[in-house]
C-alpha cells in the first residue's frame, strides 16, 4: 500500500546536520520555515532577518483551518478554499482531524472516536490502518491521513513561496509530545510527499519553550551568564492533543526537563458535549449532525467567557447550557490535564512552588476550568502573559528553523538553544515479555546508552532484538513496537555466557539507531560484525509483527539482562 511513498520519503531519512546538501549552493543558507500543523488549524512562520513573521494566505488569515475537500477533480485544502459556512466542512467531502488519525491503527480508541466524524473512518479492529474516505459525488473516495496532510502542506508551501518569493524546502514542524516514532515517520512522509524536508520535529511545548527563552533573554540581558535559571511549566492543549513540558531557561538556553502528553483535546470535549446534548446517535454525515457540531462548538467557545450559552439546532434542540454542566460532562478530560501536569512536575523533580512561570497555549487553554486546574497544580495565581496562545508554537518553530539553519542575528535574538528530552522511553523486549528500558523517558538528547544482555538457552546461536517505545510500562504490550532484527552467529556456549550489548543512539534531529554487538568472555572485540539498525522499521500492523514473531520463535531467541553488567 505504501511502497511508492517509501521511495519519496527515503530522502527524508537523511535528515541530519548537513541538511542543505541537496539544495543548490546558496549564498545565504535557506532559512527553514516553521509550521504548526494543528488538529483544527495550521500556521506557518519564518524568521525574516530581525523577527518572526507569520505568513498570511490570500484571505489575510494567519490561522488556517486544517482540512482538505475532495469535491472536484483537484482536492483543495484550507489554505485556498474559502468556506462559506462552517457546516460546509461537515458534508463528508472534507477530511479533517488528520493529526488525530495519522499513524494510528484501527484498534486505537482515538480512531474509534473519529467514527463520529462526517467522513468515513472504517475500522476492522484487527490492528491495521483504518480505511478513510471522503464523499465525492455520492461515492466514497479513499485516502489516507498522510495524503490529506501532504495535500494541505503543498498548499501551505505554495503560499509561503508566493509570500517569500523563494523556494521553500526546509521546515521545522511542531508535533504532539505523545507521538510515537512511527507517527513521526508518517509526518515526515507527508512532508516528503509535499516536497518538504524536515529539519526538526519539535514537540509543541518545546517550541513554546524556545520562544520563552528568547523573551527571557531579551527582557533580562544582564541575566546572561549570571546563572539565574527560570523554571517554567508549559501547558499546550489544542483540538487533538494535550502536552506539558517543564523547562529550565537561562541565557537563551532552554533545557527541557520533562515532557508529558496524551491524545486528549478539544475534539473530545466537543464530542462529549454533542453526546450530552443529543444522546441519540445520528448519521454522522447528516446535516443535522453538522449543525449540532457547529452549534456545540460555538457554545463551548462562549462558555469560556460567559456563564451560560444557548444551543439551537433546527427545531429539535433548544437548550441552555451552563458552565458547571459543561465542567461536569468533561470532568474526565480535566482530570487527565491535571494528571499530565502532575506527572510532568514529578518527572522533572520539581514542585509547584519551584515554578517561576506557567505558560498556557492552545485553543483549550482558554477554558476556565483548564486554567484553574493547571494553576492549582503549579501553585500559581497568574498565567504568564507573554505568549500568544494560538501563535506561540509556530513562532517557536520558526525560531528553531532559523537556529538550525545556522542563521546568526547581530542583536543576539537567535543566540538560542533547545536541549530536547525524549518524550518516550525506548528499550527492548527481554526477561520474558518485559520492556527493558535502554534510554528512559526525559533523557536529554543527543543521547547514547547501552545495556548488556545474554542468551536464555544453552547453545543459542541467534537472538532477537525487538525494539519498543513507550511510557515505560512493564510489559511490552503497553508500548509501541518500533522494529526488530536478529543477531546471528553467536558462538555456541551455555546460556548466560555470551554478552550481547545493545546500544541506542538518539541524535540531535531525534533519529534513533540501535546497535548490537556480541562479546564472549576472554575475547576483546565483537565476535561477529556489529549490527546497526535505524528505527523505526515497522510499517502498518505493528501488533501483528509482535504476534508473528512470538508464534514463529517463541522464547527460542530471547534475551535477558545480564546482571551486574549494567
Amino acid at each position: 500500500m505504501a511502497e511508492q511513498e517509501y521511495t519519496v520519503a527515503s530522502d527524508s531519512e537523511n535528515t541530519g546536520e548537513e541538511k542543505s546538501s541537496s539544495s543548490p549552493p546558496p549564498s545565504l543558507p535557506e532559512i527553514a520555515v516553521g509550521i504548526d500543523i494543528g488538529t483544527s488549524q495550521c500556521s506557518i512562520a519564518v524568521w525574516n532577518g530581525s523577527q518572526v513573521n507569520i505568513l498570511r494566505n490570500t484571505r489575510n488569515q494567519k490561522l488556517i483551518k486544517s482540512f482538505v475537500t475532495f469535491k472536484d477533480e483537484v482536492p483543495s485544502g484550507g489554505v485556498t478554499n474559502q468556506l462559506s459556512h462552517d457546516q460546509e466542512m461537515l458534508t463528508g467531502a472534507s477530511i479533517f482531524n488528520m493529526k488525530r488519525l495519522i499513524g494510528r491503527v484501527d484498534t486505537d480508541p482515538v480512531v474509534h472516536a473519529a467514527k463520529n466524524l462526517p467522513f468515513m473512518v472504517q475500522t476492522l479492529d484487527i490492528g491495521v490502518r483504518p480505511f478513510i474516505a471522503a464523499l465525492v459525488n455520492n461515492a466514497w473516495r479513499s485516502t489516507t491521513p498522510e495524503e490529506v496532510l501532504a495535500i494541505f502542506l503543498v498548499e501551505l508551501r505554495l503560499m509561503a513561496e508566493t509570500s517569500l518569493k523563494r523556494a521553500v524546502r526546509n521546515v521545522v514542524l511542531t508535533v504532539p509530545v505523545s507521538f510515537s516514532r512511527f507517527q513521526l515517520t508518517r509526518i515526515e512522509r507527508a512532508c516528503a510527499m509535499a516536497g518538504l524536508h524536515v529539519l526538526r520535529l519539535m514537540p509543541e511545548p518545546t517550541a513554546i519553550a524556545l520562544l520563552y527563552a528568547q523573551q527571557q533573554q531579551m527582557t533580562s540581558h544582564d541575566n546572561m551568564g549570571s546563572g539565574s535559571e527560570r523554571l517554567a511549566v508549559i501547558f499546550n492543549m489544542g483540538a487533538g492533543y494535550c502536552d506539558v513540558a517543564v523547562t529550565a531557561t537561562a541565557g537563551g538556553v532552554s533545557q527541557i526537563k520533562s515532557l508529558a502528553g496524551n491524545a486528549i483535546g478539544g475534539e473530545d470535549i466537543l464530542q462529549n458535549m454533542m453526546r450530552h446534548i443529543a444522546p441519540q446517535p445520528q448519521e454522522a454525515s447528516s446535516s443535522s449532525t453538522a449543525a449540532l457540531r457547529v452549534a456545540t462548538q460555538d457554545a463551548i467557545h462562549k462558555l469560556s467567557s460567559e456563564d451560560n450559552a444557548q444551543i439551537e439546532v433546527g427545531d429539535k434542540i433548544s437548550k441552555v447550557l451552563d458552565r458547571s454542566e459543561f465542567e461536569e460532562v468533561n470532568e474526565e478530560v480535566f482530570k487527565e490535564c491535571e494528571r499530565l501536569v502532575t506527572q510532568c512536575l514529578r518527572d522533572a523533580r520539581v514542585e509547584g512552588c519551584d515554578i517561576d512561570d506557567v505558560i498556557m497555549v492552545g485553543g483549550c487553554s482558554c477554558i476556565p476550568r483548564v486554567r484553574e486546574v493547571v494553576k492549582k497544580v503549579c501553585k500559581k495565581d497568574e498565567v504568564y502573559g507573554g505568549v500568544n496562545a494560538l501563535e506561540g508554537a509556530v513562532r517557536g518553530a520558526a525560531l528553531e528553523g532559523a537556529v538550525t539553519s545556522g542563521i546568526h542575528d547581530p542583536f543576539g535574538s537567535l543566540d538560542l538553544l533547545t536541549i530536547q528530552a525524549t518524550a518516550l522511553a525506548v528499550g527492548v523486549r527481554g526477561n520474558g515479555n518485559r520492556f527493558v528500558t535502554v534510554i528512559p523517558r526525559n533523557t536529554m538528547v543527543p543521547a547514547r546508552k547501552d545495556l548488556f544482555f545474554t542468551t536464555v538457552n544453552d547453545g543459542q546461536k541467534e537472538a532477537l532484538v525487538v525494539v519498543y517505545e513507550g511510557e515505560g510500562g512493564e510489559s511490552v504490550e503497553e508500548n509501541h513496537l518500533l522494529g526488530y532484527f536478529k543477531i546471528v552467529g553467536i558462538p555456541e556456549a551455555g546460556r548466560g555466557v555470551p554478552e550481547i550489548n545493545v546500544c541506542m543512539d538518539i541524535d540531535a534531529s531525534n533519529a534513533l539507531r540501535v546497535f548490537a554487538a556480541v562479546l564472549m568472555p576472554g575475547c576483546s572485540s565483537p565476535v561477529v560484525p556489529v549490527v546497526e539498525v535505524r528505527m523505526p522499521t515497522v510499517d502498518d500492523g505493528h501488533g501483528w509483527c509482535a504476534q508473528a514473531l512470538n508464534a514463529k520463535f517463541g522464547s527460542a531467541l530471547d534475551l535477558v539482562t545480564l546482571q551486574r553488567k549494567m
Binding site: 541530519g16 545556522g406 543521547a447 562479546l519
Partner: protein, 201 residues
C-alpha cells in the same frame, strides 16, 4: 519566590537506603562499553573526520577527565554554578550550534558533559561521585572509548568493573589494593600525584 532546594532533605532521609539498596542504578544509567566501537554519526562521517577522531581528537583526551573537569568547575562548585557551566558548555558543544565540521566530536563531548551535569546536579549522585573520586577513581562513566580498540582496554574495563562492584558490596578495602591496569589514566595520575613523585604518564 523559589523554594529552597530540596536536595539536603533528600540526602538526610534517603542517602543510606539509596546507597545500599540500589548501588548499581545509583550510577548514571549508561556505562562505557570499552570494547565496542560503534560508529558515531555515520551518515556523514567522512574519512577526514574519521582520521581526526582516531588520531588527534581533542575529545578523546577528555575521556579521562573527571566530571568537574568536564564542566570546567572546581570541586567546591555550587549547584547554580553547575547549571550555569552546563548551559554555557551546551551552547558550545550542542550539535545545533557547533560548527558543521565538528558536529561529530562535539556531540560526543556534549553527551559526556551531559552525564557530568546529570551526576553533579543531583546531590545524591554527586555525593557518591565525590566519595569515589576521593578514593582515586575517576568515574567518567561514559568516556566511551569508541575510537580505541586495543585489547588492553577491555581487560582493564571488566576488571575495573568487577572491582567496583565488589567495592560497592562492602569490600571497600579492596580499592586500596591496586595495580595500574585497573584504573584510568587520570586516576593513576591523581594517585601518583597524591602519593609519590614517581610518574609514568
Amino acid at each position: 519566590m523559589k523554594c529552597s532546594y530540596k536536595g539536603s532533605a533528600i540526602l538526610a532521609t534517603d542517602y543510606y537506603p539509596f546507597l545500599y539498596k540500589r548501588p548499581i542504578s545509583s550510577l548514571p544509567a549508561s556505562f562505557p562499553s570499552t570494547s565496542l566501537s560503534y560508529p558515531t554519526r555515520t551518515r556523514f562521517l567522512s574519512t577526514r573526520i574519521q582520521a581526526r577522531l582516531i588520531h588527534d581528537d581533542p575529545v578523546k583526551q577528555s575521556e579521562d577527565l573527571s566530571f568537574y573537569d568536564l564542566l570546567g568547575v572546581t570541586e567546591s562548585v555550587t549547584l547554580p554554578e553547575i547549571k550555569q557551566a552546563y548551559k554555557q558548555l551546551a551552547r558550545k558543544y550542542h550539535p545545533d550550534v557547533s560548527p558543521p565540521d565538528r558536529v561529530e566530536e562535539y556531540t560526543d563531548r556534549f553527551i559526556r558533559v551531559q552525564e557530568a551535569y546529570e551526576t553533579l546536579s543531583d546531590p545524591r549522585r554527586r555525593l557518591l561521585y565525590d566519595r569515589d573520586l576521593s578514593m582515586g577513581f575517576s568515574f567518567s562513566f561514559s568516556g566511551r572509548r569508541r575510537n580505541r580498540y586495543d585489547e588492553e582496554v577491555v581487560e582493564e574495563k571488566s576488571d575495573w568493573k568487577k572491582k567496583w562492584q565488589t567495592q560497592l558490596s562492602g569490600l571497600k578495602r579492596r580499592s586500596s589494593h591496586r595495580d595500574n591496569n585497573t584504573m584510568s589514566w587520570a586516576a593513576r595520575m591523581r594517585r601518583q600525584h597524591n602519593t609519590s613523585e614517581d610518574s609514568s604518564p
